[in-house]
Symmetry: C2
Subunit: 252 residues, 2 copies
């Protein structure tokens, strides 16, 4: 319906390397004019540091956040001080979609390392999206994708054992990092073993033991937070997720 000059995500990225849009996880086909409109409502924030919060549970929801560089974890503080890590967010990934419904953040978001984050005021975004059908559609897809990912996670927590969980986690990290142009086999984990375990529903000790075992088995080389994947295929098989779902990309 909108037949104006449509450019692809990749082109946008090349054409406008430093603009926030290139960092958005909205791989959308928008015309250049609309890209600018979207870009104009995005706030760039000063760099945040380890431990800083994007928002805390209970706060009013105002904006979505997109990781430009660095990483963020979202977690739900439970009673008696414990917490459930809900996710780790890498560059290009969006945070806060779960808060639209209640207009209130149910979870907290904490920066894991020095990071650059974009803020998208939701009210303004919604108004903008109303006038750009393809943006609207991308937003639906984004929300839907979040649901799919949660679904995958449900399957992981409901059916997989410790070994499969950690393998799935590592494969996920590998894929997501490589999607951003980073190495798929050599990376640093910004989160602690404790946070990984919490996220995967495992005890710290179990995670640690598995890292050791994976290394002994030659699947990877690990030194503290530095992970080098030696046999990605084996990890994928172990994770049990048929690569079909994760591999297929959209042409937009």
């Amino acid at each position: 319906m909108n037949q104006r000059k449509v450019i692809s995500f990749e082109n946008i990225r090349v054409a406008c390397k430093s603009c926030t849009l290139s960092q958005l996880c909205l791989p959308m086909g928008l015309c250049a004019e609309d890209v600018e409109r979207l870009d104009s409502i995005v706030k760039r924030s000063r760099p945040l540091h380890r431990g800083d919060h994007l928002f805390r549970g209970g706060e009013r929801f105002r904006s979505l956040y997109v990781v430009k560089t660095g990483s963020v974890k979202t977690y739900a503080p439970s009673e008696e001080g414990g917490e459930q890590v809900l996710g780790f967010h890498l560059p290009g990934e969006i945070i806060g979609l779960d808060a639209i419904d209640q207009s209130c953040h149910a979870c907290s978001a904490k920066v894991l390392e020095t990071s650059a984050i974009c803020e998208i005021p939701f009210q303004r975004f919604e108004e903008l999206a109303a006038s750009i059908p393809s943006l609207q559609h991308q937003m639906y897809r984004l929300l839907s994708k979040e649901i799919s990912q949660d679904t995958d996670m449900l399957l992981l927590l409901g059916k997989k054992n410790a070994e499969e969980r950690l393998a799935a986690f590592l494969v996920s990290m590998s894929k997501r990092l490589s999607k951003r142009g980073l190495s798929a086999t050599d990376f640093y984990l910004s989160m602690s073993r404790h946070e990984i375990g919490n996220y995967l529903g495992l005890a710290v000790e179990t995670v640690s033991r598995l890292f050791t075992r994976f290394q002994d088995e030659g699947l990877l080389k690990v030194d503290r937070k530095h992970v080098q994947v030696r046999n990605l295929t084996a990890l994928e098989n172990m994770a049990g997720t048929p690569p079909s779902a994760t591999h297929q990309q959209h042409s937009n």
Copy 2:
């Protein structure tokens, strides 16, 4: 912005008891005219029966589905014949939101008992929503809510033990049924013990044992699929979900 005569969800329900809209889980504030427009694109289907599929994994995504009466389970068929039950869907609840992104259903939806289901062709819905801001907003909220619910489920599978899981499941059923005007303390479960266990990440035997124990403890009376809750408060405490989040309703 839209100051035309706005009527609440409850009013709609009274005014138009048999219309599909009253069944939609879109508790939205739409003007009467828009309600009709929405209603006009909704397809009512003949009653479906136990075992019928709304869709299967792999099929192209065309429509969202809303349960009018009865119940539906969604599940992801995994390799080697096993399956992961992803959710049970009661009257008023929507199915298929996870398929928007890939335009393809990743899971299957099977009717658990004789049910009436509304079909909402997504393409037409999206067009309609583009011209009705409040509908657009409700759609965002709906998608967002789905994410929140998945998040709750992640917490359940990641942190809760068997007892807490079944308690949470029963409380959830109770709340969702009562929201539809059905009894919060006396209901029939349309799904098997096996399906409950699968959903909660537990073995059938564990579920069965817990039902027995809950009954022995006076929390509920259970006869096969017929459940009578005797002590809802105790179940809520056991589930460990602070009722704050689930109780608060929206005024729309």
